[in-house]
Amino acid sequence: MAAVAETSTMPVDPRRSGNSDPARTARRGMPLLPALVLLLIFMAGPVIYSIYLAFTNKAVRGEGADSTSMVGFANFTEAFSQPDFWNAMWLTLVFTVVSGVIGQNVLGMALALLLRKCAAWVSWITGTVVIGAWIIPEVVAGYLWYTFLSGDGSLNKVFGWFGLGPQDWLISAPIVAVSFANIWRGTAFSMLTYSAALSQLDPEVEESAAIDGAGPMRRFWSITVPLIRRSIMTNLLLTTLQTLSVFGLIFVMTGGGPGTESQTLPLYMYEQAFSFGQLGYGTAVALLLLLVGGVAALAYLKVLPKEDL
């Protein structure tokens, strides 16, 4: 009760305050309201609505356009029976693992480690360039890589100087092409996260390990990695979820093609919902995409020790 009397004049030490008084809790929570309203309408709303939509035959035209009806799990069984869906699922996993989990994380970590050792001006140049690639709008990045990799593009010109034959990368290896573009575009995020984590480390721990004769690889795996494991897991989770939802980059570079060779789930979902007008079916695919993200999130949380949360 003493705490209640105190709050009317000043904020109480958070550790001491209970929440016995609902009126006080409500008053303190007031500033949360605008954010809460926005999040409920525009985030929670669509997520809940999509659970309904996925079980209907809602369409832009044709059957399901005039009268929408519940169809149970029909959209899901339809998806599981479509080779195109499994193709998109497989490409999404390849794209996410190659460009997000491996590419951006390994390169980001390597850059963060090197940035600690290099000359100051080199760190400035590299940081600016890598972050620059991240700042550039998605569509511009898509065009840059389209021109770079296309049949008449810059890469083939460079290959020509070395007497190597031209290769239309966007046609012969589209998923590899978009993966590279995504590594280029997204590495800065991992680099910044890891740089920040490494800067919090006590240099003496590593120094003493070095004096004890531990080599750089040994030091990295048995000292640095365990110390920043929380940052690593958080970063893996965030890059996985970001990569799962990449749309514009692939849309601009290949449009999902040739055929469906680079059609990841977001592009497949878009095609089904808007080119073919099947909103219900597209939403079911979107829910499955969310499910993949949820499974990945749970997997990362499982790996992370409980006390780290």
């Binding site: 007031m30 949360l32 669509p46 000359a119 709008p137 021109t147 010109k157 601009v252 979902m269």
Partner: protein
């Protein structure tokens, strides 16, 4: 290196020469990486000054500003960029104001709901926005908000809110409480304390949140692509995508020039505030709940 290592005692001399070698080596590797990262960028810069630009990178025979002159008109550049500014500027203001307000109680008070709320926020910040765009589109159709710029800005704001709240809260945790307490005893309300005491003390943090939010919205293609239809409301992200179809045959030089003009605002913002970006990522690492 292996020949000198056993002979020398652990004095300052050996580490110093080794450190120099490590420094040179890592600087060299990083310069190569930076060079490789630059290669795709070279085309857009050279092509923008080349009247006869093609897909391959080439030195412009006679550098000209013709491409820029060609796109610097109301329809191609000014209107889309203005729309982008309205959409992303408006969205950023909503996000930053709401995030600052929400972060204050989260940072200053503990209640039973704080931790679950923060965990929800962290998960929501990872929610693939692409996956909810179809239901958002269907919702917007039903309430007749398709092609409304304020509605699109509000959606963009909501989608960047979770990460902004999370960052803002971590920055706010770093501001000491003492100054506020005197303001409270003088009877200042929560919003006034936040505005006149807390926010001025965390300007760098607010700058980082503002910059990340704005840059994210500026580059966002899918959201305006889905929610806006009229050509005179489309932001630069979408008009760049439809650029090639406007002219029949693709004018690569003009495409490059417009790409540069469109990227310029975020590039300038980055040059102005980029140094602070590291603080943002240090703050993001502090998931304490």
């Amino acid at each position: 290196m292996s020949t000198e290592a056993p002979a020398l005692p652990r004095t300052a001399k050996r580490p110093r020469s080794r450190e120099a070698a490590v420094k040179t080596g890592s600087s060299g590797i990083l310069l190569i990486v930076a060079f490789l990262f630059c290669i795709p960028l070279v085309w857009v810069i050279l092509a923008s000054f080349d009247k006869n630009a093609s897909l391959a990178v080439s030195w412009p025979g006679s550098p000209t500003f013709d491409n820029y002159r060609g796109v610097l008109n109301e329809k191609t550049t000014y209107r889309p960029i203005w729309n982008s500014l309205l959409l992303c500027g408006g969205g950023t203001i909503i996000t930053v104001v709401c995030a600052a307000l929400a972060a204050y109680p989260l940072s200053r008070y503990r209640s039973r709901g704080t931790r679950p709320f923060l965990m929800t926020i962290i998960f929501a910040s990872g929610l693939p926005i692409t996956a909810i765009m179809i239901p958002v589109y269907a919702m917007f159709v039903q309430v007749n908000l398709i092609d409304s710029m304020p509605a699109a800005a509000a959606f963009l704001a909501a989608s960047s809110l979770p990460y902004a709240i999370f960052l803002m809260k971590n920055f706010m945790d770093g501001v000491p409480h003492e100054l506020e307490e005197s303001a409270w005893t003088e009877g200042a309300g929560m919003v006034r304390t936040l505005w006149s005491i807390v926010l001025p003390l965390m300007r760098p943090g607010t700058a980082v949140v503002t910059m990340l939010t704005f840059v994210g919205m500026w580059g966002n293609f899918f959201v305006p692509f889905m929610l806006l239809l009229s050509p005179d409301k489309l932001p630069a992200a979408v008009s760049l995508f439809t650029f090639s179809s406007q002219y029949g045959q693709v004018q690569y030089g003009q495409l490059a020039a417009f790409s540069i003009l469109y990227s310029l605002p975020v590039a300038l913002l980055y040059l102005l505030l980029g140094r602070r970006l590291r603080d943002g990522f240090v703050a993001a690492g502090g998931v304490k709940g």
